[in-house]
Amino acid sequence: MEILNKLLTYLIVFAVGGAFCLVAQILIIKTKLTPARILVIFLVAGIALEAVGAFRYIKEFAKAGATIPIVGFGAALAKGAIEMARSVGFVGAFAGGLVNTAFGIGVAVVASFVVTLIFSPKSK
């Protein structure tokens, strides 16, 4: 039973995560938006979902399927900003988003720097 539940979870993660990417790919094909723009659209959608309180339920349902796409990054930004605004007041809104996502951004910057030192770009 335990195993079956686990498998079902993975199936949901797969389906929801895949569905986000499917929508993005449809946008690429149909509208010819640049990838950067699509990332921003999904990011702002994540912020909006978190702000209205809907993302909590999506996250409970889909777990990594919701948090790993950039939508989850947006939701983490909004969550941090809202929580910090509530705990330290008005000024917290400016810091909270970055504080909550600093782990990801920080490791991305440091790892990129290290990788740049180690590897040279491959010629195409």
């Binding site: 993975y10 993660v13 797969f14 389906a15 929801v16 995560g17 895949g18 986000f20 990417c21 499917l22 993005a24 790919q25 449809i26 690429i28 094909i29 990838p35 950067a36 990332l39 921003v40 999904f42 990011l43 702002v44 912020i47 909006a48 978190e50 702000a51 777990k63 990594a64 399927g65 948090t67 790993i68 796409p69 950039i70 989850g72 947006g74 930004l77 909004a78 941090g80 900003a81 809202i82 605004a85 509530r86 007041g89 008005f90 917290g92 809104a93 400016f94 988003g97 990801g104 490791v107 991305a108 910057v109 790892a111 990129s112 720097f113 990788v115 740049t116 030192l117 590897f119 770009p121």
Partner: protein, 156 residues
Amino acid sequence: MEKTATQLRNERYSKYVDAVSPQTSAVKSLLHSFVLGGITCVIAQIVNDLFALAMPATEKEMIATFTLMTMVTVAIFLTGLGVFDKLARFGGAGLFLPITGFANAISSASMEFKAEGLIFGTSTKMFSVVGPVVVNGVVWSTLAGIIHLIIFGRIM
């Protein structure tokens, strides 16, 4: 109104581009991005579960953070090895919409400008691709925080 020569040329050019660019079938690319996006998320979930097994005392939020950091680091090293670009060409949005794409965008920009030096190349250009994501993220999340405070909370 008469079309200018430039407009006509541009039209001809875009028709030419459409004609010579490789026609990947739309259905196939949709399937690829669905499957690869799903697989990326499942891998993250498995990593998450392994962390939870290894560190049962740690908070759920912290475990999710570790997972995110692991995914980002792995994606960046795959970019360095040149593997990520090959996968991304195959997987389309399936690889760049998850956080792995964010990581790839930072590291590939940083590597691309290595030749111009570590300060003025790498450090300057590192956020040239993901800049919009970070800027919009901070602006709109701040707005969300302030609006939330106005509606539900007390000011100061």
